[in-house]
């Protein structure tokens, strides 16, 4: 069984925004709209300050609240854990936009709701998501949590800390931040396998 997930090592992220550009280009995201966003945060107390870049996109939550509220089945989860939207079924009711605790969905200019797909079309061709491939420092690792030999599990084990954004939502996000000192909510070491 495959369980796709992504890690982002905050120590390695330069905040260059190449992932945001690659995502928009790869997925033809309309100008002015974004599937990926970057928060720049200063952590600590002067003079011991550190800047963290936290790049966020759909977390492909294992218990995604956006799926349950969708009235037409346009939002669904694949067997390998990717949360997708079928534009042909989407009515634009925006229940999923409202239900997403992370604000990761938006209404595409063409009316349907859009978000990160983990570049599902590239995965089908055996390629990595565009943001992962373009990252100049290798801050992102994408892989299968259920495959012990996959580099993502190595990255998770070796990290000083593993956290997700606001675990209180109970959504069980599948984008893990490595070595971060800040999350929007309690940070905790997570069991990922």
């Amino acid at each position: 069984m495959t369980r796709w997930a992504m890690t982002l090592d905050v120590d390695l992220c330069l905040g260059c925004e190449a992932c945001i550009v690659a995502c928009s280009a790869e997925n033809e995201v309309p100008v002015g709209q974004f599937r990926t966003r970057m928060r720049t945060t200063t952590v600590g107390t002067f003079p011991n300050l550190r800047t963290e870049f936290r790049v966020e996109s759909c977390f492909h939550c294992a218990d995604a609240p956006c799926i349950d509220v969708c009235p037409t089945g346009a939002t669904y989860q694949t067997a390998d854990g990717i949360v997708l939207v079928d534009p042909a079924k989407c009515t634009g009711c925006k229940a999923c936009v409202t239900a997403c605790p992370y604000g990761m969905r938006y209404v595409h200019r063409d009316g349907w709701v859009d978000k990160c797909t983990f570049c599902e079309h590239r995965l089908a061709a055996g390629r990595q998501p565009a943001c992962v491939q373009t990252c100049p420092t290798g801050a992102r690792v994408f892989g299968d949590l259920d495959d012990e030999a996959d580099p993502i599990n190595d990255a998770l084990v070796k990290a000083r800390s593993v956290s997700v954004v606001n675990p209180d939502t109970g959504a069980n996000p599948h984008l893990f931040y490595l070595n971060s000192q800040f999350t929007n909510g309690p940070s905790e070491r997570l069991e990922t396998t």
Binding site: C70, T91, V97, T98, Y106
Partner: protein, 309 residues
Amino acid sequence: MDSTEISVVGNNEGVTPVLESWDWTVAGYLFIGGLVGGLMIFAGYFMLRKKREFDRGLRIADLAGLPLLALGLALLFADLSNKENAWRFFTTFRPSSPMSWGSWILAVATVLLGLRFIRHHRLLPWDLPQSVIRLLDRVTRWTDTIARPVAGASMVVGTSLALYTGFLLSTITARPIWDSGLLPPLFLISGIASAGAFLCLWLESEAHRKLAPLSVSLCLVELALLFTYLATVRSPGSFGPDLLTTGSFAGWFWALVVFGGLLIPVTLEISEIRHWVSQRVAQIAPYLKLAGAAGLRFVVLFAGLESIL
């Protein structure tokens, strides 16, 4: 650890930093849905009681129900950003989605309200072809043979409709201020109270006076539910009930919903029952209650969009 957010690149308009996914059209629909649900409950009750004094109230509920529901559906349709797929609501049923339940409840409500509406077709301001009139009369005679089931169904579907407007919000746990099991009963009682107020606008003063004790009781139950909801809503603090009671929505909440929509009307109705004020003065009460019921939906909806975990 102390942290300060310096900048965010990649915000989507209407999502971050401020969620504006639903607007006044949805709030308006929540109000109208509750009102129509309440009217269906009253209509079913009037049909079952078969008392002459309820005839006018039943006719008003029959005539107003379908146009009001059509207005509510128009508001819902206006909110859809991908309107060409609106038919998809009726090709699937997803038990986990309150909106899916709502679609089917609305479909059944439309049929029931339609059956009640067409019996008054002679009151319509335009001439219908004779063939259509004969058809409508036949349908009316048929519905008369199943009057009790229609009345029962009207009450059940009306209750479901008003409850669902609350479930639509309460099942979205990402918005702490909506995450309460008390929102559906609150919206149900508010819907019945607003339907009573709507009927009072059209009833003679004597019938109005007869409805007053029921109206007072509904308002008091609604007040109790409202404050229990505020006291028990899951997430306390600035993203919870404080948004309503002391935060950016406090003015509207206290002035329009609590005082204007509940306390003042209740006081006026009690005064009317006890003959402390003239009926003319007490006639303001239904207008205030309708404004308060609408205000409740607007305030809860918009506060919810600001309320984050």
